[in-house]
Structures are given as structure tokens and as C-alpha cells.
Symmetry: C2
Subunit: 149 residues, 2 copies
């Protein structure tokens, strides 16, 4: 459905302005559907994302600031997200020996389990929420990459 009809706005200043609105709206479409997915396991989407970052380390610890850099939402607070995950025993946190300012974070076995439990559902959700062919999806990925410059 055209964004103009979705939000009942007849015209936009130009395609660029329309695009920003379209992106914000499409984001909302995705995240509002996502909530049903994450809620049962008591994780937020961004907590799930941090677990994925940690698993991608394959056992190698990573600092809080490196997690922050890789997070999808740059504004959210890696330190507090890690604290939430630690409370659920999904991550370990220990002082970095080479630099005592830093804190090494690692995913636990339980964290890996929760991640796997969620992952199949997330994959299926992502597949279904996007009503595009594979070729269109590839095209969209390329345009988004280019958009950010």
C-alpha cells in the first residue's frame, strides 16, 4: 500500500522527504509486529541483537564499547543492556586484564540456548514480514546501503 494512503497524506515535498517518512513508517510496521515475537522470552529486540553480536565472537570476549558500535540502535545503552542480560545469566561480565577500564563480555551456554530458541522464529518472522521477491529484497538491500553513503 502506498505510504500516501497509509498515513492519508496526499503529497510530499519531494521523493527524499517521502522516503524518510516511508522509512520511519516501515520501521514502525516491522517493530510493532516484532514485539509478539520477543515478548514470550522476556527479551527486547535489542537484547537479542546483543546476544547475536556476542555469539559472533565465537568465544572471544568483547568490550561494552565494541558492542555499542555494532548495535543496530546507536542510541541505546549497551552498559544497561548487558546488565539486563547478566541478570538473566545470559552473559558473563569480567574486568579486562590488559585495561582495567574495559569490561569483557561473553555469552553463556544459557545465552546460546535462548538465542537458538528464538532464532528460528525470528528467521521465519523476517521472511514473512517482507512481502517481496528475493530479487527485490536484494535490490532494496543495495539501495539502503547506498542511502547511508
Amino acid at each position: 500500500m502506498r505510504i500516501e494512503d497509509e498515513i492519508k497524506q496526499k503529497t510530499f515535498k519531494d521523493p527524499y522527504n517521502k522516503l524518510v517518512v516511508n522509512l520511519l513508517y516501515t520501521h514502525s510496521y516491522i517493530v510493532s509486529n516484532q514485539s509478539a515475537l520477543f515478548k514470550p522470552l522476556g527479551l527486547s529486540p535489542e537484547q537479542y541483537n546483543v546476544l547475536r553480536i556476542l555469539r559472533g565472537q565465537h568465544g572471544k570476549p568483547i568490550t561494552v564499547s565494541s558492542i555499542q558500535e555494532r548495535m543496530l540502535n546507536k542510541m541505546s545503552n549497551a552498559s544497561r543492556l548487558v546488565e539486563k542480560l547478566k541478570q538473566k545469566d545470559l552473559v558473563l561480565r569480567e574486568e579486562c586484564p590488559s585495561d582495567r577500564r574495559q569490561v569483557d563480555i561473553m555469552i553463556t551456554a544459557k545465552g546460546l540456548e535462548v538465542l537458538e530458541e528464538l532464532e528460528t522464529a525470528v528467521y521465519a518472522f523476517n521472511r514473512n514480514i517482507v512481502k517481496l521477491t528475493e530479487s527485490e529484497t536484494n535490490q532494496l538491500n543495495e539501495l539502503l546501503d547506498k542511502l547511508r553513503g
Copy 2:
């Protein structure tokens, strides 16, 4: 820059999963840059959006629930947003005569002023944040519309 490099993730399950991540990431790219724009005037992006919805009514009042329907972020609370705008004298709120459950909302002259003040900056921001040609931008708009089905 490729999303893989931005978040240092080598591969994705499939293009659809990559796309959802790419959308979340691109959203964050936009909104984190947006904050500098809105902060000086003490409005949030969603408050700005509500003012635009109200102006689009051309004097015709609109109810809180109709505002909610048109908002970009379906999860946020129109009632509280309107209250914030009212505190700044940017909107009027009065009981709907035909149905006393409903509340008619209208933008004030001051609201229109603030909107115009912001708008030029928002247009320029949107134009600059999107590093695409006009033709690519149109293409991206179409793909996003199709994505949502």
C-alpha cells in the same frame, strides 16, 4: 557502506533477514541524526509529525484516535503527545459536540509558526541524509510500499 561492514557481521541467513537488520540500522542512522534538528525547538519528531497531521486538516478538527491512526509510530501515545503540544500552546483541545467521548484537536497559529520554522530545516535534512539519486529514491519508495504488502 555495506550493512555487513557497518555492524561487522559477515553473513546473514538470507536476504530477507539481512533486509530487516538493514532497515533497523538505517532507521537508527536517520533518527540519531534527526535529534539535532528537533532538539533546539523542544519538539520530538513524533510531536512534529502530529503538528503536520493537524495542519493537513486545514482547520478541520480531528480526533485523538484519527491522529493515532496516521502517526508514523503506531505505538506511541497520541493522547500524551497532544497533551505535550497543548502545554506549549501549539494545539487546542475541545470536547466534540456530537460525541462527548471524542476530543477535537486543532493546531493553533503558534503551532503553524513553529511548524514552518522547523519545516525548511527538516526538508533540507531529509534531502541531505539520503545519498541517492532521485530515480533511486523513487525506486526505494516503491520497494518499501511493496514490502509492507
